[in-house]
Symmetry: C2
Subunit: 335 residues, 2 copies
């Protein structure tokens, strides 16, 4: 796995520098932090602000979801590592528009610990902070321990829902409640076909034989449910759809949004081949598809693989998901 990089230790900072040079009208640095960014019009007075953050290597997660109708700010960690609490605090301070801040991020230990510290310190400064943790990966813990589950591509739905709610002028409790409703109604399941290489480490995160796939493997290469024989796109679609549908569980007649996510090296053609069968599985289960997004929404650098996410919709969530969102990293209109 060859990389287009300079010094591996400068990977994150050079990525950020390039992003700021590409999209100067969209993103800007947070004062007093080299590892936090915010939307160009932040702080937005009178609006609840949303801060996210996490390790690098997952674009468009996390910083790609900073924009109108999305998050206001982001703290940026090293590859696959939590950002520092100082950078989270700087982001919270930078985006605070007087109506409080929702910290919305993935359920990972390091991120949680550091966001807890940042939220407490922000509270001492008089900023009201609430937290919502995305935990959509059904492979990472059984349903009766859903609080232990990790976040994967389902982050996308949480950002869209919470971001749109905040744009309506809703208060912090309402924005947090909308985020929590999206989180409670999202389920994801994925497979990995190949590892990625962390630049500073220089070696693959795991190994899989040429005829194997990692079922339920996390986006950092965390162990999943099993290593299985690589099978056809149709069988993979049935496996992913079955795992996701059965977990909430999604019931016939439910209206859902779908995200077919590529982990990095898997071409869109293959994601659509997978969806061609997954669509029919969902339809046979009586699910009504309101919106389907196919593409790279949460990646693991050059990892090959994919995931399927479903969000159960109601009237409120549908309206929020259909609201505009704007970022250089977001596929148009949230298709």
């Amino acid at each position: 796995m060859k990389k287009i990089i300079n010094n591996p230790l400068a990977f994150v900072d050079e990525t950020i520098a390039g992003i700021l040079k590409a999209h100067p009208g969209h993103l800007k640095r947070v004062p007093a932090s080299s590892r936090a960014l915010m939307r160009a019009d932040a702080p937005v007075k009178g609006k609840v602000a949303i801060v996210t953050g996490g390790g690098s290597g997952h674009l468009p997660v996390f910083l790609g979801y900073v924009g109108q109708g999305l998050c206001d700010g982001v703290a940026i960690g090293n590859v696959f590592s939590s950002p520092a609490s100082d950078d989270m605090l700087a982001a919270i301070r930078g985006v605070h528009g007087g109506e409080g801040v929702l910290c919305l991020y993935g359920n990972y230990g390091g991120d949680r610990m550091n966001f807890d510290v940042a939220a407490e310190l922000a509270g001492l400064e008089g900023i009201t902070v609430r937290q919502a943790l995305v935990r959509d990966d059904v492979a990472s813990a059984p349903l009766d321990q859903a609080g232990r589950r990790r976040a994967v591509a389902g982050l996308y739905f949480a950002y869209r829902i919470a971001g749109a709610k905040a744009e309506t002028g809703a208060g912090l409790d309402e924005v947090a409640a909308a985020a929590e409703k999206a989180i409670e109604g999202t389920r994801s399941m994925g497979i990995a076909l190949s590892p990625c290489v962390i630049p500073a480490a220089g070696k693959p995160t795991f190994t899989l034989a040429d005829d194997e796939m990692g079922v339920g493997m996390g986006i950092h290469g965390e162990p999943g449910i099993e290593v299985a024989k690589l099978t056809t796109a149709d069988r993979i679609a049935e496996l992913l759809a079955g795992s996701v549908i059965g977990d909430l569980p999604f019931a016939p007649g439910d209206e859902v949004a779908v995200l077919v996510n590529g982990l990095g090296a898997t071409p869109p053609e293959e994601l659509y081949i997978l969806w061609n069968r997954a669509h029919d599985v969902l339809a046979a289960h009586g699910l009504r598809i309101h919106r389907c997004c196919v593409g790279e929404y949460a990646t693991s650098m050059e990892m090959a693989g994919c995931s399927l996410s479903l969000l159960k919709l109601d009237g409120e969530l549908k309206a929020l998901l259909d609201a505009p969102a704007r970022s250089p990293f977001l596929l148009q209109g949230g298709w």
Copy 2:
């Protein structure tokens, strides 16, 4: 290179089927062809229609550029193979809104031969057809033989410009002239780091050693300028920017649009690291950057690598490039 597929021979048809199930409100089939699609509102009466086409394996090229402000229809070939002239003719017939059709595609022998046949047959049916061939790859032939050059990611600029011009209600000659102006002002140069596997062939399109890169290699693995030692992102940026700037040549004070394109497996982080340096090279040359797009705009399935494209702008091209364009495959707003 593991793939999420079923029967390799069904790769293209299953991709199309999945796309239609994902985006039913956006795309529909062209009558009497299983290998041609058009925008859901085609034919648009009173508007010049644009038809593109080419081999599969390059998403979002070609069919991802069908939509409002883009192309009206597309003919779809097998992986890396020209579509049949019958499918091109079906697409031309399907989208014709009474004002003529511009066939806008890449300068490849098979595509040209088949589009020539389709255009002639359409002419016999009373449909006025013009053609414009994108030829932006500076590595594929010297400047004094620019007519032999291949198309790569510069297709994106031609689609945006011609598509926006057609939406203004301009006539066929004007739309063709705008497309030609964009084509004349676009230059691209790329490197490949790894091959892809054509599903039906099952083996890599070429080989490169772990410390090598293919400079100027085409998006089907066509030989480029040389196989060189893999170097840093900064040196690659200087190489690509230098090749592109010197070819038109772009002059100090020129206003340009930039496209930093990933070929498939190269993560966005690396594209931004490359842009971090390429931006400075362009700035040092006195070029003014009106707009910068970074992402996967023309791919080669799971190939790793990237390209840099520049479009020289004038007042007309700037306005057209800033006009709205809408497709499930297009990054929002053409950032």
